[in-house]
Subunit: 295 residues, 2 copies
């Protein structure tokens, strides 16, 4: 049995939360799941898990990787809260302070995608990179952008899923983002795919023309990411791209074509890749945050 | 007379280079200008200036802020060279090694816009900010993006002027970028403005409809910058925007409208501002780099 320290991680998701107790690099000591209902109920259950683990095992730090948007400005009185979510009851829910107080150890809070990006850098598809991006294309489009080893963080966290990109010629779909219409999320996330193809969704073939539109929007997002920070690689996961290797290939080709030689992607492929941690990227992201918690 | 250390800075521009010797924060001890002709001639003249200043004054570090694109990947054998410029003779010109050897002091090399961004953070419109962006709209569109106090730098430096953005409805101008057509540079830089208005250029009024197209492209660029790194403010300079206060106002309004409440710009305005260092941003950028040179 290893004597390396234990870390607690909480992944706060839109439908469920995963609590994980891990001895890094790869021993998962405990794992529990809590449905995401009201903040009172869900955070209460997570507090009890953290308290119990503290007594039974002890752990040296806590990481919380949350769905967003969240307030990460240390100057804000709402630091550590969910902000403008449409999820009932969660707007302004104070996640960080409650869970940190229950754990009573050094703690770190960030978005789920920043956590996943850091976990992929530690253990997955971005190992050894100081500059890396993690994109999830699911119910929404989330981006974790790591620059010089740290997530981008000015007055807010990365929201690159909501940039407005050049349209694929001939694609007139108005987009499904309630804020921006045809931003990347509005063009490529699950709800947009559903709106575009309707009942064909469960039987979508790889050569369905809708993938061209989805790949285009993701490729334009990658073009912007490359121009902003030139990460060494970009990992793309999430429900829309899962098992769609053809989509990642297409995004990489479209990206190279869009950059048009002005910038050359680094040699060694693929540049656009699946995350290596799969379904564990979320909770391991929280563990990666715990490892970075200020002492 | 102050006893604080002297720094040498070289701004490498497309038409001229400025060498500056400064005692920070604000005493300029010497300043010389060299026309940008061939690398041999121009770099030779700069080497002689650096050698002479070394003997006459001494200086503790050298900063070089160069037009781009430049190779900044420390793993590349071309580190410190100009890369894909159309400027005759300058492709692959090794700028950094030559000037560093002439100066024989710790030295730092970066793009002109990253240097200007760092100078604005030290002495100008971004004082105290760890996250800040500097945009120049002139012959091209250059962006210096500072994240957590450092310029973005993966396998390349920031090239956000070359992202492809949503078009202003009704604006069918094909764009003037030889690589990307209607990227931001192709829509908003000097050559595009000239191509759009032709002989009207010298008499352009503030209410000329062309400004709507220029402001739109810059606002979309700012939208992407905000989503990528949420800088505390964005400074915009360069020949196209100089003295066009109406343009910056318009960009800020369009940016807020484009974000549509999903992200709120920080209170205290303007968020979009002129650089405070004006024409000195370039050479002072080189001095800011010198101050960050590794010992």
């Amino acid at each position: 049995m290893s004597s390396s320290p234990l870390f607690a991680g909480i992944e706060l998701g839109g439908t469920k939360c995963v609590a994980i107790l891990a001895r890094v690099p790869d021993e998962i000591v405990a794992r529990e799941t809590v449905p995401t209902t009201s903040p009172e109920e869900t955070l209460g259950a997570l507090e009890r898990i953290l308290t119990r683990w503290k007594l039974e095992h002890g752990y040296s730090a806590l990481g919380i990787a949350s769905f967003g948007p969240v307030e990460l400005d240390p100057e804000s009185t709402n630091y550590g809260s969910i902000t403008s979510t449409p999820k009932p009851g969660w707007r302004n829910a104070d996640v960080f302070q409650r869970l940190r107080q229950a754990a009573c150890v050094p703690a770190k809070f960030d978005t789920d995608v920043n956590g996943a990006a850091l976990a992929e850098i530690r253990w997955g598809s971005g190992q050894g990179f100081a500059d890396f991006a993690y994109i999830t294309v699911g119910t929404g489009v989330g981006v974790g952008l790591i620059v010089n080893g740290l997530p981008t963080r000015g007055f807010a966290h990365c929201e690159l899923g909501h940039i407005r990109v050049a349209r694929l010629p001939g694609d007139a779909f108005p987009g499904s983002c309630p804020y921006h219409g045809d931003c990347v999320e509005g063009l490529a996330a699950g709800p947009s795919l559903k709106a575009r193809v309707g009942p064909r969704l469960p039987q979508l073939q790889h050569d369905d023309p809708v993938w061209e539109s989805v790949a285009w929007a993701i490729a334009q997002l990658c073009h912007a990411i490359v121009c902003a920070a030139a990460p060494r690689a970009i990992a793309i996961g999430g429900g829309v791209v899962e098992n769609q290797l053809h989509l990642l290939d297409r995004v990489e080709r479209m990206l190279a074509k869009s950059l048009n030689g002005y910038m050359q992607l680094p040699p060694g492929s693929p540049y656009i890749r699946f995350p290596a941690l799969g379904a564990n990227a979320g909770p391991l992201g929280a563990v990666a945050l715990a490892m970075d918690a200020p002492k």
